[in-house]
Amino acid sequence: MVVDTQLASFFTAGALIVIGIFAALFLDNLIKKVIGLAFIGDGVNLFIITIGYKPGGIVYIFLPDMTVSWFAQNASYPLPFALVLTSIVIGASTLAVMLGLIIILHKKHGTISASKILGE
């Protein structure tokens, strides 16, 4: 069975999101939780990229020998890609803040188990 690239890519994004949510909710180790959160972000980014993808298309760079209408019909949609650039950077910076918090909490409690630190 042939699955087209776009559909397979959507499923990959979904799988990454599900894996990430599972890890963030059910794993006890805080660093693994944060790794899971990174995967959620990756999954969402892949999803947005896949929206802009055009099967059999070209990269959205206008070269001098193209006509406008041919370019418009074949190029991928660049708006989602511009959004993902921002989103990747936001994701990385929030993860950095969380890891910093984990290091501080580890100094205080001597453990990185979520149930011991975050439990009442």
């Binding site: 660093i31 055009k54 959205y60 993902v84 990385a92």
Partner: protein, 77 residues
């Protein structure tokens, strides 16, 4: 064809990173989905995002995780 392989490595790399007992290994393994996503973006016609993802996903974030693991492990022993 190669894009399907990249998708499978991304998902399996993610699972592999999460089932490691050694956190340092897990931190380094997060680079696998990061890097395969970067290549995948190239195949999905987004070369500029692929560049950013290659740097952030396969280099910066694993280093962040590894640093956090290193910091939290030293104090423990």
């Amino acid at each position: 064809m190669i894009e399907y392989i990249l998708m499978i490595t991304a998902v399996f790399g993610a699972v592999l990173a999460l089932i490691q007992r050694d956190l340092l290994k897990a931190a380094i393994l997060t680079g696998i989905p990061g890097a395969s996503l970067a290549f995948l973006y190239q195949y999905l016609l987004a070369p500029d995002v692929a560049l950013t993802q290659a740097i952030v996903g396969s280099a910066i974030l694993p280093v962040f995780f590894a640093l956090a693991v290193y910091k939290t492990r030293r104090a423990e022993d």
